[in-house]
Amino acid sequence: MAFSATLTVDSGIAKITMSGQLDASMTPVFQREIENAQTQQAKRLVLLMSDLDYIASAGLRALVFAKQKMGRAVDIYVVGAQQQVLDTIQMTGFDRSVITIETYDAEVIENI
């Protein structure tokens, strides 16, 4: 059950590239990268999800932490999520608090 999350921060934009299966056993890996993004005072959090095959509620809870810790002003972008992952995000109403887009749009995301 492999999951990986890789963080890069550039010009205040934190990008986490996610891949594999994010169940409760793997959530600490994701949580750690979110906390790293927070300590680097990112102004935007971009989650690149095209290779993420599965997300459980434990992974979504990490987003609640992210929003509460990083503050309301930090926009969270969900980029390229697969349909089933997107279904879960929509079913829980998270799509009203994060910005879901199909592909990475530098003009929108990097325009701080």
């Binding site: 056993s25 599965y54 609640v64 089933q84 879960t88 109403g93 009203r96």
Partner: protein
């Protein structure tokens, strides 16, 4: 399918997912329905492991069983952890923005929303959670040929 018994630890979630996905493939569920079933079982298994066993200081196992008939795929999880009826969990307010959300409650909600039937029983010292997915007509037709 042959029943399977796994330790009640988060490391078992991968094995549980494999078991559910194999049952879904045997039953002919499509990709979306398979994902929904896996999500429901994963959420409840996580809850049993964390709240039924670990947080209560108990150790134990989860017993998985899959039954397929001509209409339904049924997955059952038996455990002897602390009793927790998922149907009694408060329904989360999915309209709240993330920064105002309480932590928790989503797993039970997702589990119950994603299967066609959700049953919880407590018999003796055992909890039994049952998930049912109705099989699509195409799967039935393929089985008959």
């Amino acid at each position: 399918m042959k029943p399977s018994t796994v330790p009640a630890t988060l490391d078992s979630l991968g094995t549980i997912a494999d078991y559910v996905m194999a049952a879904a493939a045997s039953a002919g569920l499509d990709r979306r329905a398979s994902y929904r079933l896996r999500l429901a079982v994963d959420e409840i298994a996580t809850n049993i492991i964390v709240h039924g066993y670990a947080n209560a200081g108990h150790q134990g196992v989860l017993e998985l069983r899959a039954d397929i008939d001509d209409r339904t795929l049924t997955i059952a999880i038996d455990d002897t952890g602390v009793t927790c009826d998922p149907r009694q969990a408060p329904i989360p307010d999915i309209n709240l923005p993330l920064d105002q959300r309480p932590i928790g409650g989503l797993g039970m909600y997702l589990a119950m929303c994603n299967v066609d039937e959700f049953v919880y029983e407590h018999v003796g010292d055992r909890n039994r959670t049952i998930f049912k997915m109705y099989l699509p007509p195409t799967a039935l037709e393929e089985e008959k040929t």
